[in-house]
């Protein structure tokens, strides 16, 4: 099996090296930038390989000591091959990093180690701008500018010499501004598009505008972009400073940086401001230059739609890709291995994993990757190869199926699946029983056959159970049942009590009325005028109260007849009652000669009439 696997790996590498049979003249150079960093700062180690012919390289490796961590690697292949590792250190000290090595047509070739010094945070005063996780060459951003601190040299372009004002070239659309945000110099950043899906490329560009003639860049601060994977695509940018006139002033503009940003998550993601130090006559002579910052940007990132999403789609796989595959050999003994080289090509952020076909007896090992990804006309594109070693443990002719990659095509706003069919392989020999024995010897229960899901999916449970406690009605019912019983009885008791009191009150008025009439009769018999008047008055007021509920003493006697009439007492009875009360006053104060017996009878009659008004229950004024 080992021999077969070795053969497979050798075959895979052979495909890569097939064109490189002669020993090539290869030169290596390793650079570290910067050489002195603070703890946690990022720095890069770059292995540059040049040869007399086109060289295919694979398996780049960089040895790092404890305390130093590699967090990114990028291979750029052109006339020279450059492999850039992004690193960070967690402890202070001097570190020997490397040697960096790579497999070439001459075999594994390595260069000399490099040294970097890591110091405590806050130690470096002239700290260089952070590299910010940029996987591509971060050091060409200053191209096209005169060096900072250099004096202007007449006759040498790029060092601040004022250009003669010939005919101005047409300014590209993306360079144009409607107004200057600063009279001397400013920096403008743009991001296109501003609404994307996770994994879709956003192109971030920065333009420097100088209004005091030609300028250089004394310093440059990269944008913060934690939520993005960033690739420097400024290699092909036009770095010339283009003159143009705005509001009667001559300006110079230059595109100083371009990045392809790939958002890593959904949300409103921030791109921090960039900064540049303008240097040159009219700007600043300080080492930092005249510092200007661009405004931070906000990118709206959403997830691609769930509708139509193919199984196995990984968030962030956005672009347009195609797959091809090579399989070798097509016939192997059982427990042998084959090699599959899948090549993924296209535009976008090329994924690091593919969906491999699985079946019993076929086991894909982790692939080895090799890629060449670079921007072309502002779009990140290239290829990545995945070299798999596949172990085959089941005899017979096996249809391997296909390797796939589901992706989202942001331009077409649709999902697609890149596919590469692998065809069939023949596995010779017969199955061995050792694996079964090994399985039997394995500790723990067998989990694979533990569950037996039904052949067909049953109906979904009801969308949302209507939980009783979530309803207001439940709580009203819970407390309302006993409370309503209590309340109804309490109200019933109150009503009864009220009725009883009312009856009692009416009963007491009737007896008082009887008593007053009896006194009236006695005073009349005795010929007591004043006593008769008082008793008659009392009897009449009690009769009024009993009949109408009114306290007659509180009403002016002149108005009493009307008040009684308004209280539904017949008009004649009201008038009679008021007249009798007037006669009571006359009796009391003037002692007029009155037939007291007939007066008493009139009062009794009036009380009876009022009692009739009070209803059948209001008895008492009986003769």
């Amino acid at each position: 099996m080992t021999r077969a696997r070795t053969a497979a790996v050798a075959g895979a590498l052979g495909v890569l090296l097939a064109t490189q049979v002669a020993v090539a003249d290869i030169k290596l150079r390793t650079e570290v930038t910067p050489r002195k960093v603070e703890i946690g700062d990022r720095f890069s180690v770059r292995l540059i390989l040049s040869s007399d012919g086109r060289e295919n390289v694979s398996d780049p490796q960089l040895k790092v000591p404890a305390g130093v961590r590699i967090f990114g690697q990028q291979v750029t292949q052109g006339s020279v091959v450059a492999i850039t590792w992004m690193l960070t250190a967690s402890r202070a000290g001097k570190y020997r990093i490397g040697p960096a090595s790579v497999v070439t047509s001459n075999g594994r070739t390595s260069d000399k180690p490099v040294t970097v010094e890591v110091v405590a945070q806050g130690t470096l005063t002239d700290k260089q701008p952070p590299l910010g996780g940029q996987p591509l060459d971060p050091f060409s951003i200053m191209r096209g500018f005169g060096g900072p601190g250099f004096p202007a040299l007449p006759g040498f372009p790029g060092f601040g010499e004022p250009e003669p004002p010939p005919e101005l070239p047409a300014l590209p659309e993306d360079y144009k501004v409607e107004r200057a945000s600063d009279p001397i110099a400013f920096l403008r950043a743009t991001a296109e598009p501003q609404k994307v899906v996770v994994g879709e490329q956003v192109t971030l560009s920065a333009y420097a505008y100088g209004g005091r003639g030609d300028f250089g860049a004394a310093s440059f601060g990269e944008p913060g972009r934690d939520d993005f994977l960033a690739v420097n695509i400024g290699e092909d940018d036009d770095t010339r400073k283009l003159p143009f006139d705005l509001d009667g002033q001559r300006w110079y503009v230059s595109k100083i940086a371009s990045y392809a940003l790939f958002p890593l998550k959904a949300g409103k993601l921030k791109v921090g401001s960039m900064s540049i130090g303008f240097s040159g006559p009219g700007y600043s002579t300080s080492p930092q230059g005249l510092l200007r910052k661009s405004r931070p940007l906000e990118i709206e990132v959403v997830e691609p739609p769930l509708r139509g999403r193919p199984p196995g789609y990984h968030l962030g796989d956005v672009g347009h890709f195609s797959l091809s595959a090579q399989v070798q050999p097509r016939e192997v003994p059982i427990d042998g291995s084959i090699s599959i080289i899948a090549k993924l090509e296209g535009t976008g952020n090329l994924p690091f994993t593919l969906l491999v076909p699985e079946q019993d007896g076929v086991h894909f090992l982790e692939p080895q990757l090799f890629d060449k990804i670079e921007p072309r006309r502002g779009v990140v594109q290239g290829f990545r190869t995945f070299t798999y070693v596949v172990e085959l443990t089941k005899p017979g002719e096996l249809d391997l199926g296909e390797i796939t990659l589901p992706f989202y095509d942001a331009k077409a706003r649709a999902y697609g699946v890149a596919r590469a069919a692998l065809g069939k392989v023949r596995v010779t020999g017969s199955a061995k029983t050792s694996s079964a024995a090994a399985k039997a010897a394995k500790a723990g229960p067998s989990l694979k056959g533990l569950l037996s899901p039904p052949a067909k999916m049953g109906p979904n449970p009801s969308a949302h159970a209507r939980y009783l406690p979530s309803r207001v009605g439940f709580w009203l019912l819970l407390f309302g049942l006993p409370l309503s019983a209590l309340l109804s009885f309490a109200l019933s008791d109150l009503a009864k009590r009220w009725r009883r009191r009312r009856a009692e009150r009416r009963g007491s008025l009737a007896s008082a009325l009887d008593a007053a009439l009896t006194q009236l009769a006695e005073h009349a018999r005795a010929g007591d005028t004043a006593g008769s008047a008082g008793a008659a008055e009392r009897a009449l007021f009690l009769a009024i109260e009993k009949a109408t509920g009114l306290k007659g003493r509180g009403v002016l006697k002149a108005q009493l007849a009307d008040v009684l009439a308004n209280a539904a007492v017949p008009r004649d009875v009201a008038d009679q009652t008021a007249a009798l009360l007037g006669r009571c006053d006359e009796l009391r104060f003037t002692g007029a000669a009155v037939e007291l017996a007939s007066f008493s009878a009139e009062v009794r009659d009036a009380c009876q009439k009022l009692a009739q008004r009070a209803g059948p229950g209001a008895t008492g004024a009986t003769p």
Partner: protein
């Protein structure tokens, strides 16, 4: 070189094609077929997509659990597979509480997680919070129904106590009022607590080998005396009470702490 040249012979190129949309039933059938032929990852991808699309079905959860268990049992096992299987089984039980297969499977998976864990360190036993333990004694609907019955008993007791003239019915009414009131208060509190726990927290299962609880600032919680309750083991059920960015505040036993959302799988509930 000759062998290599022969080997390079078979080159098959696949072109990108449009992806077709499947119904949930078709996805389920395809995932089941994939699982039967040993394509565990394909089955997992299909069932995860179904869950992402909002299909809450106990059979789908069961199949997802089976796919994770198959992978956990094979050479392609990945860390967290057993936790994800436990999450799928817990979800199946939330959606179909009387599913004996899911219940049995969950017991075995949790036992297997514990067995593997005890190879490395002591197991962690954490009792749930007392209020949650009491509230979870009965389903929320049962709490509510019992509370209503108790309330009805109180109402009837009041009526009997009032209307009856003979001593025995009046005594019966008094007893109904007393006992009914106590039970109404107890069951009503149970219903309220169950409702609050349901509304303010969502069950989730830890799907990483071990999740370390942190404070709001992301610093690990200090370990308490006795058992280490600040590390949540794989497959353990926690209750998510708050979500903020990529983190969530969880209740783990009597301890509250923050975990990364990627460390847990939120369960679909009815």
């Amino acid at each position: 070189m000759k062998a290599l040249a022969i080997a390079v012979g078979a080159v098959l190129i696949g072109l990108a094609g449009p992806a077709g949309a499947e119904t949930p039933e078709q996805s389920y059938a395809a995932a089941r077929a994939a699982l039967e032929k040993g394509a565990d990852n394909e089955a997992i991808d299909r069932m995860e997509l179904l869950a992402d699309q909002g299909v809450n079905n106990p059979d789908a959860s069961l199949l997802r659990a089976a796919a994770y268990l198959a992978r956990a049992d094979g050479a392609g096992a990945q860390p967290g597979d057993l936790g994800r299987a436990a999450a799928a089984l817990s979800e199946a039980l939330w959606l179909r509480p009387d599913d004996a297969q899911a219940e049995h499977g969950l017991e075995i998976v949790q036992a297997e997680i514990a067995r593997r864990k005890t190879k490395q360190q002591e197991g962690v036993v954490v009792r749930p919070r007392l209020s949650r333990a009491i509230a979870s004694l009965l389903p929320e609907q049962v709490w509510a129904t019992l509370a209503l019955l108790a309330s009805l008993a109180v109402a009837i007791g009041i009526v009997v106590r009032r209307v009856a003239t003979k001593p025995l019915p009046r005594l019966t009414g008094m007893v109904a009022i007393s006992v009914g009131s106590a039970l109404c208060a107890a069951f009503g509190a149970g219903a309220y607590a169950a409702e609050q726990f349901r509304v303010t927290s969502q069950p989730a299962v830890v799907v990483v080998a071990e999740a370390r609880l942190t404070n709001e600032l992301g610093r690990p919680l200090p370990s308490k005396r006795g058992a280490d309750t600040t590390s949540v083991p794989e497959g353990a059920t926690v209750y998510v009470r708050e979500r903020r960015d990529e983190r969530c505040l969880v209740e783990w036993g009597s301890t509250d702490g923050w975990l990364r959302l990627s460390e847990v799988r939120l369960l679909a509930t009815r």
